[in-house]
């Protein structure tokens, strides 16, 4: 997203309400916080997007780093089951907790390597033999 690199809001303390709940929380542009954060955490699985965020200096912003830490609630039930790209999302979320990865992903070569490996693994993991 194209907001200013340093305009990341401070992370909310509590994870959002589940979609099953009838919480009347204010929407963000018509979307619930759950919906927006689910979409965002899964977008992080896209290496190009990570590279983009790094190039916009998001990944060195302490507020954004705190937000990444906050997003780890997606690794736990009951939020875990809502991930539709669970493998890549969880792995990326884990990597993003490492400062070294946050620094290195600014390299397009690394992003490209992750794309190639991810695509290759996606077709090879279920191969027999």
């Amino acid at each position: 997203m194209e907001s200013g690199p340093m305009s990341v809001d401070s992370a909310p303390l509590e994870p959002p309400a589940l979609p099953e709940g009838n919480a009347n929380e204010p929407t963000h542009g018509g979307h619930s916080r759950f919906e927006v954060e689910l979409e965002f955490v899964q977008s992080l699985a896209n290496p190009e997007y990570l590279n983009y965020l790094a190039s916009r200096k998001f990944l060195t912003n302490p507020a954004f780093i705190a937000y990444l830490d906050y997003l780890q609630y997606w690794t736990r039930p009951p939020y875990l089951k809502y991930l539709t790209y669970p493998t890549s999302t969880l792995k990326t979320l884990e990597l993003l907790q490492q400062e070294k990865f946050r620094q290195d992903i600014i390299s397009p070569d690394l992003a490209h390597m992750m794309i190639m490996e991810g695509m290759k693994t996606a077709v090879e993991w279920h191969r027999e033999g």
């Binding site: 907001s3 963000h28 190039s55 090879e124």
Partner: protein, 345 residues
């Protein structure tokens, strides 16, 4: 012991015949019959001896079998005893109480639903290979773990300047869903979903594939998935068309997305529009009703006038008829407007 008796009898007969034979020899008159009897007795004795030998062999065999039976009995008893002890031990073992809580926090149905939901994002469609040669043997898993390999590969890129080609594709300038622009030569083009990767492992044995490959235009026609690529993450198109992109559009339009609900705004707008239309419709209906009332009033007045005229015309005719027959008894003013064809409504 019957055998012993039989053997004794044979010995006895042999001794007697031997005595007879000795007597006959001693008397100098050996008898051939006695000699034959002696031979017969000897043969009997030998037969009996053979029987005894067989009997003794059988006896020995019986003894051996009894010993074996005894041995096996002992073994069976030992086994039975061991089994009994084991049974006792098993029964005496304290079993772990069965956990009353569920092992998993989800049901099978939920698990299957989850699998169904994620399957389209974790497994490519049939025929989509991402450029990997599926006929080649599966490469062995790497020895180093993922983190290590990542570190090794990422080391030389420490000092590279950030490449904005990826970033630009997420920028606001092309959020309309256009295909990302060309990237620099140093940057691999990985953003185009419709292009199969040509940079996957160079070790693919492509000879046989190219031999059987159809021309490009035919390939497109017969294989709808020709050139399709599978990404195990949300693509740029997904991200651009999602909630985050819509929030960015709101921000770009100067609207604070917090608490803003486009659906609600649209609904309110529609309600206002509907209310305006309803008001217009009501005004129109009222106007039409008023006009209708005025028309009806005019018609009613015209009818009344007509009736009045008809009444006046009728009395005039009756008067005329009366004039012909008799003199009118009373003067009646006929008025000036006595034309029946007059229609001034």
């Amino acid at each position: 012991m019957a055998k012993n008796g039989e053997l004794d009898a044979c010995f006895e007969r042999l001794e007697k015949s031997l005595d007879k034979m000795i007597d006959s020899i001693a008397k100098g008159n050996p008898s051939e019959a006695i000699a034959e009897e002696l031979v017969a007795c000897q043969n009997d004795l030998q037969g009996s001896m053979k029987l005894i030998e067989t009997w003794q062999n059988n006896e020995a065999r019986l003894q051996q079998l009894r010993q074996e039976v005894s041995l096996f009995d002992t073994q069976i008893k030992d086994i039975m005893s061991s089994l009994w002890n084991i049974r006792k031990e098993v029964k005496a073992t304290q079993t772990t109480p069965t956990a009353t809580t569920k092992k998993h926090q989800f049901t099978t149905a939920e698990l299957l639903a989850f699998a169904r939901r994620i399957s389209r994002n974790t497994l490519p469609a049939p025929g989509v290979t991402n450029g990997v040669d599926m006929t080649a043997p599966k490469p062995p898993p790497p020895n180093a773990d993922a983190d290590d390999s990542f570190r090794l590969q990422s080391q030389p890129t420490q000092n590279q300047t950030p490449n904005t080609s990826f970033g630009a594709s997420f920028g606001p300038g092309i959020t309309s869903g256009s295909t990302p622009g060309p990237v620099s030569a140093a940057t691999p083009n990985t953003v185009n979903d419709t292009q199969p990767s040509t940079q996957l492992p160079p070790s693919q044995p492509t000879k046989t594939v190219t031999e059987e490959k159809l021309p490009e235009h035919i390939e497109h026609g017969i294989n709808p998935r020709h050139g399709a690529v599978f990404y195990p993450w949300p693509t740029q198109e997904h991200i651009r068309s999602g909630a985050l992109a819509s929030l960015q559009r709101l921000i770009d339009a100067g609207i604070d997305p917090k608490g803003y609900d486009p659906g609600e705004v649209e609904r309110k707008k529609q309600e206002e529009e509907q209310a305006r239309k309803d008001a217009e419709e009501r005004a129109r209906q009222e106007r039409e009703a008023a006009e209708q009332r005025m028309r009806e009033e005019r018609e009613r007045m015209a009818r009344e006038r007509e009736l009045a005229r008809q009444r006046e015309g009728g009395s005039d005719r009756r008067d005329s008829v009366a004039v012909g027959s008799a003199k009118p008894k009373q003067f009646t003013f006929l008025g000036a407007d006595d034309d029946d064809d007059d229609d001034d409504d």
